[in-house]
């Protein structure tokens, strides 16, 4: 497996005309290997788009090393540009041109046979509307056109910044199928998105960025497993008594209004056995496996904003994970330039 994108120590500070500087990237690292569908996640303003812009030579990084297909970027981008298809944050197209003409002009400029135009229009489901002006397109149609433009070159590496932006459910599903097909055909995909369930469905690898720094990276299943604290949700008639019994059996229990969460469980059958022996019949024992959303909210410290629960909860209560945020599962680096809620779990 070869390295397709490698970024290390990327820094970018935007200087504003007034109000000094703003650190957008603070030593960010990213590694994408060939054949991956790599999810790129992070809260608003965490630096995803800035990373991709820097990688593609649209903004100049202050420091750091970047390579694409082993070639240093952006210096030798022209040499590999033909192998990279990219969209960065809802590209704008010229409103007076039709979709087909837009693509044809790009194809001509990039030296791609214009026969590709019809193929990609078909691929993104825009063939029937291709001869209308881009101005008259809906948000989702423009997004499809953008994806089509990225596909024109038959790229080996596809970089998609929020491709699902504005797509309807069917469109999201088509996008998912498209990415899977491309990946099956050997295309490496780097995709940023805020639809975490979607990322969890299609991506095999993930990198999460927060305030310009990487907070976690790896295979999706491994990342999730790393956040699996062996928690189970237990529903049973007498919650208080059950909590006592389980506690006496040496388990850590957190009480909730209608259920218990048992932590650090090695063998879940022990729960049912312990309670059953005392005549308490368990209605439900559900493993609380973390999903990307809970991991994301925990890592990026953005859970509080919407959850409105006590500081011990990093995830919304209905997720029911209720885990202690203080556990040093892995090093959670949060940049010094706190812009968000800024609560670093102690």
């Amino acid at each position: 497996m070869s390295t397709v994108i490698e970024i290390s120590g990327l820094r970018k500070t935007f200087r504003r005309l007034r109000g000094g500087a703003h650190v957008a990237l603070d030593g960010f690292d990213l590694l994408v290997e060939s054949g991956q569908i790599h999810g790129f996640l992070g809260p608003n303003g965490s630096g995803k788009t800035t990373t991709l812009r820097a990688l593609l030579g649209l903004v100049r990084a202050d420091s750091g090393r970047m390579t694409v297909f082993g070639e240093p970027a952006p210096e030798r981008l022209p040499q590999v540009a033909g192998r990279v298809g990219a969209i960065v944050e809802s590209p704008q197209f010229f409103g007076n041109f039709t979709g087909r003409r837009t693509l044809r002009l790009l194809a001509v400029a990039g030296g791609v046979p214009t026969s590709r135009v019809d193929a990609v229009l078909e691929q993104v489901g825009l063939a029937d509307r291709a001869d209308e002006r881009v101005r008259s397109y809906s948000l989702g149609m423009k997004q499809r056109l953008a994806v089509a433009s990225a596909l024109l070159k038959e790229p080996e590496l596809l970089i998609l910044d929020e491709p699902a932006n504005g797509l309807d459910p069917a469109g999201i599903r088509e996008m998912r199928d498209l990415m899977r097909d491309l990946a099956a055909a050997g295309v490496t995909v780097l995709v940023s998105s805020h639809i975490l369930a979607e990322i969890q469905l299609i991506c095999d690898h993930v990198t999460i960025i927060s305030r310009g720094r990487r907070v976690v990276a790896g295979r999706v299943d491994e990342v999730l497993a790393g956040f699996d604290h062996g928690e189970y949700r237990v529903r049973v008639a007498e919650l208080d008594r059950a909590a006592e019994l389980l506690g006496a059996a040496g388990l850590t229990v957190v009480g909730h209004p209608d259920h218990l969460v048992v932590q650090q469980v090695a063998d879940p059958t022990a729960i049912a056995r312990t309670l059953g022996e005392q005549g308490l019949w368990v209605r439900e024992v559900t493993p609380l496996t973390p999903d990307l959303e809970s991991v994301f909210l925990e890592l990026t410290g953005t859970g509080h904003r919407s959850a409105g629960t006590g500081p011990e909860h990093t995830a919304p209560p209905d997720r029911g994970t209720g885990r202690d945020a203080g556990e040093p599962e892995r090093v959670i680096e949060l940049g010094p330039t706190a812009t968000g809620s800024g609560e670093v779990p102690a």
């Binding site: 935007f14 649209l58 952006p74 197209f93 790009l106 001509v108 400029a109 433009s149 070159k153």
Partner: protein
């Protein structure tokens, strides 16, 4: 090569460019139409009379010249009569323009006498066209994200920007040449059908062609300037604003201030002087400070030649291009 083709297509497909071409043609059409309407083919009687009047006028010039020579030979001091010190100034043989029949024909378009101001009008209009098209072409691309898209395809900023400038200048040149052919051709036709051609000599044609070529250089410079300033300011409006600001604040405002504080030779600080010098060959300005205190005789004129004009304009345009390309090379694109 592919990039050039794509850029040419992008440029010519722009609504604004098409609109400007229409306006250009409309303006030319109006000029041509008014000329046509106010000109008629002179009758034989009119021509004969005009020729007689011209002959008389030439005769008078010769006579005056002779009178001058005679007066000087007789030792009459200049100032005592109305003739200049040096009679050669009056020599009809050295005169640039001898009275001809065309001068005495009214409501008749005479090509060789009236085409020059019309040519200046053509050049001024083409310059405006080139400036606006140049500014809007790159300005719209920068603000609409078209440039970003293109750079994702061709991550070579200098090549992309250079190609755009090249495509612009090529298109402007073609439009200019074609429209001037139509424009000048139309006036020629008016002259032949509904007026007089006059008496175009070889010198006349050389002069006219040279002026036209110099005008084309100005047109290309205007396009380049619009393009560069819009690139620097990332917006079409940057170029338009700079242009309007320059005219209002400097050419008009500063000129007034210069008059008030009595700066010497204010015209040499104005781009318009150099523009005129390049186009016409040389321009003379009155130096308001040179002749103080007032003495008996003082030549307070100074001139700017086409060389000076070309130098200043070239430096200006080259500076703008260099600045815009340097800025574009490093800047962050949205």
């Amino acid at each position: 090569m592919n990039l050039v083709r794509a850029e040419l297509e992008r440029l010519t497909a722009r609504r604004f460019v098409q609109l400007m071409v229409v306006l250009l043609i409309a303006a030319f059409g109006i000029t041509i139409a008014t000329t046509l309407a106010s000109s008629h083919r002179p009758t034989q009687v009119e021509v004969t009379r005009a020729e007689q009047q011209a002959a008389t006028a030439r005769q008078e010039m010769v006579q005056a010249y002779q009178n001058c020579l005679a007066a000087r030979a007789a030792g009459v001091q200049p100032g005592q009569d109305g003739y200049p010190a040096n009679c050669a100034e009056m020599d009809p043989a050295r005169s640039k323009h001898l009275p001809s029949a065309g001068d005495f024909l009214y409501q008749v378009f005479v090509f060789d006498q009236q085409i020059r101001p019309l040519l200046y009008f053509l050049i001024a209009f083409l310059m405006l066209f080139a400036f606006l098209v140049g500014a809007s072409y790159i300005g719209a691309d920068l603000t609409s994200g078209g440039m970003t898209n293109l750079l994702l395809w061709r991550p070579q900023r200098m090549t992309v920007l250079g190609t755009k400038l090249g495509a612009l200048l090529g298109t402007v040149l073609v439009v200019s040449v074609l429209s001037s052919l139509l424009y000048l051709g139309a006036f020629w036709l008016i002259a032949v059908v509904g007026g007089l051609v006059g008496d175009p000599t070889a010198t006349f044609w050389t002069d006219l062609s040279l002026t036209y070529l110099r005008g084309l250089v100005l047109v290309l410079m205007a396009g380049t300037l619009g393009f560069s300033v819009a690139t620097l300011g990332r917006h079409t409006a940057a170029a338009l604003g700079t242009f309007a600001g320059y005219v209002v604040l400097w050419e008009l405002g500063a000129r007034v201030v210069f008059e008030i504080i009595e700066v010497a030779r204010p015209d040499q600080w104005m781009l318009s002087s150099y523009l005129g010098a390049w186009l016409v060959g040389r321009v003379e300005f009155w130096d308001n400070q040179a002749c103080r205190p007032i003495e008996s005789f003082c030549d307070g004129m100074y001139e700017i030649t086409w060389r000076g004009g070309l130098l200043v304009l070239t430096l200006l345009v080259a500076g703008a291009v260099a600045a815009s390309f340097t800025a574009f090379r490093r800047r962050d694109l949205a």
